[in-house]
């Protein structure tokens, strides 16, 4: 080492600054290239150029000529270097430096002995991962913004909370991916797509991640895109699967989750929102550990009875996104077994003894099915608050009418989303065919029981509402457990914010009241009218005598008649000339025939007489001093 240092002393010095310079440049460009793919080449080229110059200058005179091929090679090598460089990795930089330097030096001459070269430390694994991520990011960013900083995104991904992850855009049916990858992706594309898409993706990615972190980064990226497009298809598939959910028994949570994630995604609800919600739900569930509280499950189970309408799902998604405390929710939702227990507990806590009894019966029968099914589908994602809201919604609907309850329950049960504003309940759609089926099986009492349970668990006035569902026909069982986690979430999370937020949009959705037109009513198209004052003034000027007001009215009528005649005449003249546009010549002909223009008085004279200068200029070519002629257009 010492020997090398001593030998390279004189030579190192010129190189050192270059290296540092190079490094600096690399550093400077590290972030930039990551930002822009397109500009990478540009950045690299100038980077390479000075380096070349420096190398040439420092190394030896032999190196003057750098073949183009070498340059290109160096540039090409640099490109991946820059691309991969998301972080200021010294190793990367040094490596790139070495690469560039090596490329420049190697072909030209024998390496100088004194050249100090840092050992090329290759973290193959890291780089690969990084590059893979970068590639994925690039692929995604191609269609989207390039501005997202991959390094920053990656970092943020790591640091981002679940909420952020939801924000990230991940495809609906993301196949099992590396957890990091999903995170990275999400971080990389924070700006992309709306919340919904991000929620979906995040959900999917999370679910996938937890389930199976096997797929490579690249595959994940490509699959994400595909999944997104296929989400619609998958939804259909899921719908079918949903129908089979009820018979499913609470199998392994993870497995079910996966299935449910897909199922939930493909839930009958073709609506995008549903998918999103499901995705978000799954994401939550996946992200959260399954071992989390059983208590959480209890609440959602109790809550989920009614089917979840699309809107509920959407609201849930929105809520999920808003709330960063997803983990807890997820945990709750995840545990299917716990849900069952919770559901039973909820049944126990049912406000109505009778209902509870009935509920227990039915619950025992179908609760398992529904719970497991619902939980699998939605349970993971269902948020306690959402469930609570659903319950509230359901209860509200129950108040309205038995059908409403059923709808509500269906809506809640159908899709896992626990959080729904009260308004959503009203908007439930019968889309949840699978849920409906299950709900029908469940029977009214189940729904009611669930409602009751949910209400009890939910701090909100859902309790009052829960009573109503009992009385009404609610057959959805699935929503019970779906709601349970939601209710739990509600309890745990600040409910005020949630119900308020979802309600507001829901209220807005309600019958739109057209804003009354105040003051500014529709303006009736006024007919073109020559201003009276103008006519009066002109007439008085011409008459040089006082004119009575009655006379003016007559003058107005005359004017109207006059215009009619005028237009007819002009049309006749123009048509006679074989034209469709009235020209000045036509006007002159008219005036001549009227007797206004005679041999004595020409048109120009008339113009000068009656028009101010600005108009005269327009009509008559004016000769101005300075040999300028202002001609009419």
């Amino acid at each position: 080492m010492l020997k090398r240092v001593i030998q390279s002393q004189p030579q190192v010095s010129p190189l050192a600054p270059r290296i540092s310079n190079h490094e600096d440049k690399q550093e400077a460009h590290a972030e930039v290239p990551s930002k822009r793919v397109s500009s990478m080449g540009e950045l690299q080229l100038p980077d390479v150029a000075p380096e070349n110059r420096i190398t040439v200058f420092c190394m030896t005179k032999k190196r003057k000529k750098l073949s183009i091929s070498e340059f290109e090679r160096a540039a090409e090598r640099r490109l991946p270097q820059y691309q991969a460089q998301s972080t200021l990795d010294s190793t990367i930089m040094t490596r790139s430096l070495h690469m560039s330097v090596g490329s420049l030096l190697a072909p030209d001459t024998v390496e100088k002995r004194g050249l100090f070269r840092r050992p090329k430390i290759r973290r193959a694994v890291d780089m690969q991962e990084f590059e893979g991520r970068v590639e994925q990011y690039m692929l995604k960013s191609k269609g989207q913004n390039y501005l997202v900083d991959s390094p920053s995104g990656i970092r943020t991904s790591i640091l981002t909370s679940d909420a952020e992850m939801m924000m990230n855009t991940t495809e609906l049916f993301v196949q099992p991916q590396l957890h990091e990858q999903s995170q990275n992706k999400s971080a990389l594309e924070p700006q992309l797509s709306n919340l919904k898409t991000s929620a979906e993706r995040s959900l999917i990615s999370d679910a996938d991640q937890e389930e199976a972190r096997l797929e490579g980064l690249v595959s994940g990226v490509s699959t994400n895109e595909k999944r997104y497009s296929k989400s619609s298809r998958l939804d259909h598939e899921h719908v079918d699967r949903m129908t089979h959910i009820s018979p499913q028994t609470p199998a392994k949570q993870q497995e079910e989750k996966q299935d449910h994630s897909h199922q939930s995604n493909g839930m009958a609800q073709i609506s995008f929102t549903e998918e999103e919600v499901v995705c978000s739900i799954y994401r939550w569930s996946s992200s959260l550990s399954f071992t989390s509280s059983s208590k959480y499950l209890g609440s959602p189970v109790t809550l989920n009875i009614s089917t979840i309408s699309l809107r509920e799902v959407v609201s849930h998604i929105i809520e999920d996104l808003e709330i960063s405390e997803t983990k807890e929710e997820m945990i709750n939702a995840v545990n299917g077994v716990e849900q069952e227990r919770i559901f039973q507990e909820a049944a126990e806590h049912g406000a109505n003894a009778g209902y509870s009894e009935h509920l227990e019966k039915k619950l025992s029968e179908k609760a398992d099915l529904q719970i497991t099914a619902a939980r699998d589908n939605r349970g993971e994602t269902e948020m306690a608050p959402s469930a609570g809201e659903e319950l509230a919604e359901g209860s509200i609907g129950a108040q309205g009418s038995p059908t409403a309850d059923s709808e509500i329950t269906k809506g809640i049960g159908a899709e896992s989303l626990g959080r729904h504003s009260h308004a959503f309940s009203s908007f439930r759609k019968p889309e949840m065919t699978p849920l409906n089926e299950t709900d029908e099986q469940g029977g009214e009492l189940q729904d009611q029981a669930v409602m009751l349970e949910l209400n009890s668990s939910v701090e909100e006035p859902a309790e009052d509402e829960a009573e109503y569902p009992a009385s009404q026909e609610v057959s959805m069982k699935t929503p019970a457990f779906v709601r349970a986690p939601a209710s739990n979430l509600l309890l745990s999370k600040p409910r005020v914010a949630k119900p308020a937020s979802p309600r507001s949009p829901v209220q807005q959705l309600q019958p739109k009241v057209l804003p009354r037109r105040l003051g500014t009513s529709e303006r009736k198209p006024r007919e073109p009218q020559i201003p009276r004052s103008w006519i009066k003034e002109a007439f008085r000027h011409f008459a040089k005598m006082p004119v009575t007001t009655d006379a003016y009215r007559i003058v107005e009528k005359c004017c109207e008649r006059y215009f009619q005649q005028l237009s007819d005449d002009l049309e006749a003249y123009t048509h006679h000339a074989g034209r469709k546009t009235v020209e000045a010549a036509d006007l002159e002909v008219l005036m001549r025939r009227q007797g206004l223009v005679t041999d004595k008085t020409s048109l120009n004279v008339l113009i000068e007489r009656h028009f101010p200068l600005q108009y005269r200029k327009l009509l008559i070519p004016v000769a101005v001093s300075g040999n300028k002629v202002i001609s009419s257009s």
Partner: protein, 76 residues
């Protein structure tokens, strides 16, 4: 005399009567000229009528009779 001419109103009026008819540039100014001259003639005729009636004010009857005459004259 007014400084500005209601050019847009003239165009709209003509369009109302003859929607298919087009107007070239500055043609509406000539139309306005024609209109002014028409009013001029109308006023002159009304003044003459008032003189014949030995009144110092132009009355509607004078105007009506004047209008009949001038309108007939104005027809191309």
């Amino acid at each position: 005399m007014k400084a500005t001419v209601p050019r847009l109103t003239l165009r709209k009026t003509l369009k109302k009567h003859k929607p298919q008819l087009r107007l070239a540039t500055n043609v509406d100014l000539l139309v306005h000229l024609n209109f002014l001259l028409f009013l001029h003639r109308l006023a002159e005729e009304a003044r003459t009528n008032a003189f014949e009636d030995k009144s110092k004010i132009i009355k509607p009857e004078h105007t009506i009779s004047a209008a009949k005459v001038i309108l007939k004259k104005s027809r191309g």
